[in-house]
């Protein structure tokens, strides 16, 4: 019987021939934790009498959620993380390095075919590179640090086939919002989502990362995309040589196949307070905004910043609106500097913050007051996610966010289409 990519990866990592529904104990290729969870992980590690980390070269620790620290309580957590990282000699990324998921990818710890876990729900992002990656809790993360292993239920897979050429100024973010809107917040619970089809194949890896990042917003265990030449070229561009990986068999079994045609897709917006409350921009246009956030592990990469800069160039953020831009990593930041994007952002009146989670983590750098409205390129719009429970968060592409920054209301980016 044929296998899906996920079944193949979990077979390899468990050393057994496994299919959806089997429970396996598998060897982990890499694990990550960040400051939002690190204290619980380190406490559990100590309580479980952990003495050594099973393989320090496979462990990454990142300070990104409240970075630089905004509270004394967090400064203590950061201190604990540094001490742990240096004591166990694991890979460590200091304040200002960037978002944990972006850094996992840039660090070369993610290869096609690898099995990766981390104490963060958006760990599913690495599936864009053909890895099987999923979020776990902090106690389990500690267990992995000690043993290098974890139990998994091999998931069923939903195949999502996306076809059609994306219209101008419609982006991977619009595609995934459209998919989340149709599948629903729990439509893929416990399952893997395999993204395929001509649109996905022609997408850059950066765009694919936006798709897989949001798989968890449908309850999925992971989002995954078969590796191809683009995957290997991308890895090569960050200095990581790889040619491994798996592809799904022709006769692999899927629990469901969903087809999307995006050739006429409008820009999409997820409205408060649910990620699956998705509407086409035409139904939301005109809503006044107070804050615009461009960044996060969903849309903080160079591709996203280029899109935003294209719209903001020579224009100014509307009076009364603050636009916050946070590059996903130092590498992205430097590239944006070299390309002159940061200059464009500054000239247009944006606040450019240091790489990290920024307002997405809801703890600093852009907390919303009661009654305020934010349009954000991140992945969650839950009530109180960015501050007051009486604030509203809309999710959209970097183009829609940038256009909204200029007008001060939710705006179709196609209004800013430049000639030629």
């Amino acid at each position: 019987m044929g296998k899906t990519v996920s079944e193949k990866i979990l077979s390899r990592a468990s050393g057994k021939d496994v299919y959806a529904g089997d429970i396996v104990v598998a060897e982990i290729d890499a694990v990550m934790m960040h400051d939002g969870m690190a204290k619980l992980v380190i406490d559990a590690f100590n309580e479980m009498n952990g003495r050594r980390v099973w393989d320090p070269s496979r462990v990454l620790i990142v300070i990104d959620h409240v970075a630089p620290s905004a509270y004394e309580a967090f400064s203590k957590v950061h201190k604990l993380m540094r001490e742990f990282a240096f004591k166990h000699n694991v890979k460590f990324r200091e304040v200002g390095s960037g978002i944990c998921h972006q850094l996992m990818i840039e660090s070369g710890l993610v290869s096609p075919g690898s099995l990766i876990v981390a104490s963060d729900s958006h760990t599913c992002t690495y599936g864009a590179l053909g890895a099987f990656s999923t979020g776990i809790g902090s106690t389990e993360t500690a267990a992995v640090l000690i043993s290098g292993k974890l139990w998994f239920k091999v998931p069923e897979t939903i195949r999502v086939i996306v076809d059609g050429k994306l219209p101008l100024m419609v982006y991977p973010k619009d595609v995934i919002l459209n998919i989340v809107g149709r599948v629903g917040a729990d439509g893929a619970t416990y399952k893997a989502i395999e993204f395929t089809g001509s649109t996905v194949k022609s997408m850059d890896v950066e765009g694919r990362l936006t798709l897989t990042n949001m798989a968890v917003e449908m309850g999925a265990k992971t989002g995954i995309i078969e590796p191809d030449e683009k995957t290997y070229a991308f890895l090569g561009s960050i200095g990581h040589k790889a040619d491994s990986g798996f592809r799904s068999d022709e006769d692999a079994e899927y629990s469901e196949t969903l087809k999307f045609d995006v050739s006429d897709l409008e820009p999409q917006v997820a409205c408060p307070h649910r990620v699956d409350n998705v509407k086409p921009i035409s139904e939301v246009e005109g809503k006044e905004v107070d804050q615009v956030f461009i960044g996060s592990c969903t849309n903080g990469r160079i591709y996203d910043l280029r899109v935003a800069a294209e719209i903001l160039k020579g224009r100014h953020v509307k009076r009364g609106v603050r636009a916050i831009i946070v590059p996903a990593s130092r590498r992205v930041y430097r590239q944006a500097l070299m390309e002159g994007l940061i200059q464009i952002f500054i000239d247009s009146g944006c606040a450019v913050c240091n790489p990290g989670c920024g307002p997405c983590a809801g703890a600093h750098q852009g907390i919303l007051a009661p009654g305020e409205v934010c349009i954000s390129t991140s992945n969650r719009n839950f009530k109180a996610r960015m501050g007051s429970p009486e604030a509203e968060i809309y999710l959209a592409s970097p183009a829609t966010a940038a256009a909204s920054a200029v007008t001060g209301e939710i705006t179709d980016p196609r209004r800013f289409m430049r000639e030629g």
Binding site: V25, K39, L40, S121, E140, R380
Partner: protein, 169 residues
């Protein structure tokens, strides 16, 4: 462990996310579990932490615990003395986390028959929830034995303390 309750039901709807269980702004600014627990469910039920009593149950619809992987979510509920969460279905990371910290999570297709304030008992062994207020019983989906074993030990950390190794070592 095998018999839970009696305790009162606190009824919530579908898609109760981890930000509702414990908001990110608190998770990231308060590291003391006593303090943190005071904010449990605050966004959707402001006085929850004051009114809930040890032994009570949380009852919900579909996809309980969706959202982030924060283990603080099941932790605050356990800390407030919740004896189990009974839901139609759970988001997977919350489900794993709850088991790993020793908070029973019970999948029950008929959770919507339970009303706010009903007094419940759960028989994990027999596989049903008893609604003492309505004199009804609802079947629950049995937990895989591997996970029951972790719960029986009071979570993964306590398992290691008792056995000197992880379940898979």
């Amino acid at each position: 462990m095998e018999m839970l309750g009696p305790g009162r039901a606190w009824k919530f709807g579908d898609d109760i996310n981890t930000d509702y269980i414990i908001a990110g702004k608190y998770k990231l600014s308060i590291t003391d579990i006593n303090e943190l627990s005071k904010h449990a469910m605050e966004t959707i039920m402001p006085d929850f932490s004051r009114r809930v009593r040890k032994g009570d149950f949380i009852v919900a619809g579909r996809n309980f615990g969706c959202g982030s992987s924060r283990e603080q979510a099941p932790l605050v509920l356990k800390h407030l003395g919740i004896s189990a969460v009974i839901a139609r279905s759970f988001a997977r990371i919350f489900y794993r986390n709850a088991i790993n910290i020793g908070l029973p999570v019970i999948e029950c297709a008929e959770s919507d028959r339970i009303m706010q304030g009903d007094v419940l008992e759960v028989d994990m062994e027999g596989g049903y929830v008893k609604n003492l207020s309505r004199k009804e019983a609802y079947k629950i989906r049995p937990l895989p034995p591997e996970l029951r074993e972790i719960l029986r030990n009071g979570g993964l950390v306590n398992y290691v303390k008792a056995h000197g190794r992880l379940p898979w070592q």
